[in-house]
């Protein structure tokens, strides 16, 4: 089991009902973790339209997760 720190923004924040949470997970990649969270929180955004950041840096969806990682799924951005 890995302990992962999660932060949620925009639509994911609304769906999760919280800005941040800590979870224990068996998921070994960001992609697997997102699938798991979709089931829990009912996220409707497809990973195809998102990016993921681990420890505040963009990374591939298949990047292995390590205990203590900080993970943020990035919904389509709309700044500017």
């Amino acid at each position: 089991m890995r302990r992962i720190e999660l932060e949620y923004f925009a639509q994911l924040h609304d769906a999760a009902g919280c800005a941040a949470e800590r979870r224990e997970t068996e998921a070994d990649t960001a992609a697997a973790l997102y699938d798991e969270l979709c089931a829990i929180h009912g996220f409707s955004l497809s990973p195809a339209c998102m990016r993921v950041a681990v420890n505040a840096a963009f990374c591939p969806w298949d990047q292995p997760l390590r205990d203590g990682d900080h993970v943020v799924f990035i919904p389509p951005v709309s700044g500017g």
């Binding site: 389509p76 709309s78 700044g79």
Partner: protein, 141 residues
């Protein structure tokens, strides 16, 4: 020399601009994004900007460094507001100083396009009717 700023309150743009007044700079191009009164026909009362701040700062700074490498500019500054902005407020400001105008225009356009495409900032519009909505617009790839 170039820097990306995020601000929780209005910034004195004149101060940021004066820092770009460098001896070799003959042309200066700037872009501002303002909170508009309507979007897609709906009356907007304000926009709430949220950011994943540490990544927004590194990504914003990376964009300015790419602009400096790609265009013959002296320096560039970009400022993005976070939090609730009323109609008419400046949400984003970009200033680019260059020896000549071609590079100033090109880099300024590049920077705003990349900010909108890549920097993890989200805007939630507040409508006069009382609802809110996340503005889903840009491709993130």
């Amino acid at each position: 020399m170039s820097r990306f700023l995020m601000a929780d309150a209005p910034v004195a743009i004149g101060v940021l601009q004066r820092e770009l007044l460098l001896p070799q700079a003959g042309g200066f191009c700037s872009f501002e994004g303002w909170v508009r009164q309507t979007n897609d026909g709906r009356a907007v009362s304000g926009i709430d900007y949220k950011a994943f701040r540490p990544l927004a700062l590194t990504e914003g700074q990376a964009i300015l460094e790419e602009a400096t490498a790609r265009f013959a500019i002296c320096a560039a500054t970009a400022m993005h507001r976070i939090g609730y902005l009323a109609v008419g407020e400046t949400a984003v400001w970009i200033g680019v100083a260059a020896p000549h105008r071609d590079a100033a225009f090109g880099a300024c356009r590049f920077i705003i396009d990349e900010i909108k495409r890549r920097v993890p900032i989200w805007k939630q519009e507040h409508y006069e009717a009382g609802e809110t909505g996340w503005v889903a617009c840009h491709d993130v790839r």
